[in-house]
Subunit: 169 residues, 2 copies
């Protein structure tokens, strides 16, 4: 990795603006979630995945692989959500190690209530600010950046975490 290849002033400006935008966007969406549905963005991701799953339940490892999280993050978050009655754990018949994470009626209500507001916020905060060509460029740009990170990470740690490349929509 070459040292001393600093960024130009204009690159620094772009990077700074992009950085601030990302932070503000995350924050705005978090606040919107909290205000409108009492969920955090992470909780929404889990509930959303469960809501789309057959029987409205998933194995913990499948949540982790689908969203690209560590298993321990899922476990902790599910514990908190279970305490709040949004999800429930159930034993797994076919594999005594595992357990199913299922959506409760409360959880289903919460996620259904949240979806509309979230999509509206994404439109309002993000897509409404885009010019037509921006979206397509951003799609390709995102792919290239993810590739660059994947390759760079592979150089350092040959055992790849390929699960993170998976789509999770």
């Amino acid at each position: 990795m070459s040292e001393s290849d600093a960024l130009s002033d204009s690159e620094l400006e772009v990077w700074r603006a992009f950085y601030v935008m990302r932070r503000r966007l995350d924050r705005a969406l978090d606040l919107q979630f909290q205000r409108d549905s009492g969920l955090s963005a992470s909780e929404y991701e889990v509930l959303f995945a469960l809501n789309d799953a057959p029987n409205r339940q998933l194995r913990s490892r499948d949540i982790a692989a689908g969203i690209g999280w560590e298993k321990s993050r899922v476990s902790h978050l599910v514990s908190r959500m279970e305490r709040r009655g949004l999800v429930a754990r159930a034993e797994c018949e076919t594999d005594a190690r595992g357990s199913w994470i299922g959506l409760t009626p409360d959880g289903r209500r919460a996620v259904l209530r949240a979806i509309g507001g979230h999509l509206a916020a994404v439109r309002r905060y993000f897509f409404d600010a885009l010019e037509p060509e921006d979206a397509e460029r951003l799609l390709r740009l995102s792919g290239r950046v993810v590739d660059a990170i994947g390759c760079a990470a592979d150089e350092d740690a040959p055992a790849g975490d390929t699960a993170l490349h998976g789509d999770a929509a």
Copy 2:
């Protein structure tokens, strides 16, 4: 505030790709920091700001305003960094409430060591993956998104947090 304005399939695709990219980028940069300099991204931000300040010291409120953080976040982080010997607090002569946060020799060494690797990572992970036109578009796009968020937030909370609009480079 219109409800029921869902996103089209292609918009969802763009959003998902952009989302994954942001997460992976943050993660990659965090890992790079940790591996190369033992700092977190937050610690780097503080040390970097201090390193550029007159006398290599800043008031806590100025760190907060500059980076766009809450004062409590600064206080907690500075406490941890003080424990590790990266910064030191000193009394403020002109305002008995406040205190100066100053860079220690260790802190200065740490940030100098970190800067090169960080900029190289930003280049490698991000700018190398951009096409020439991307950068300029992204700059304008970021500004428009930040504006959209600012306006939207104002609708809900008329008392604006204008500090967050400030530049922090």
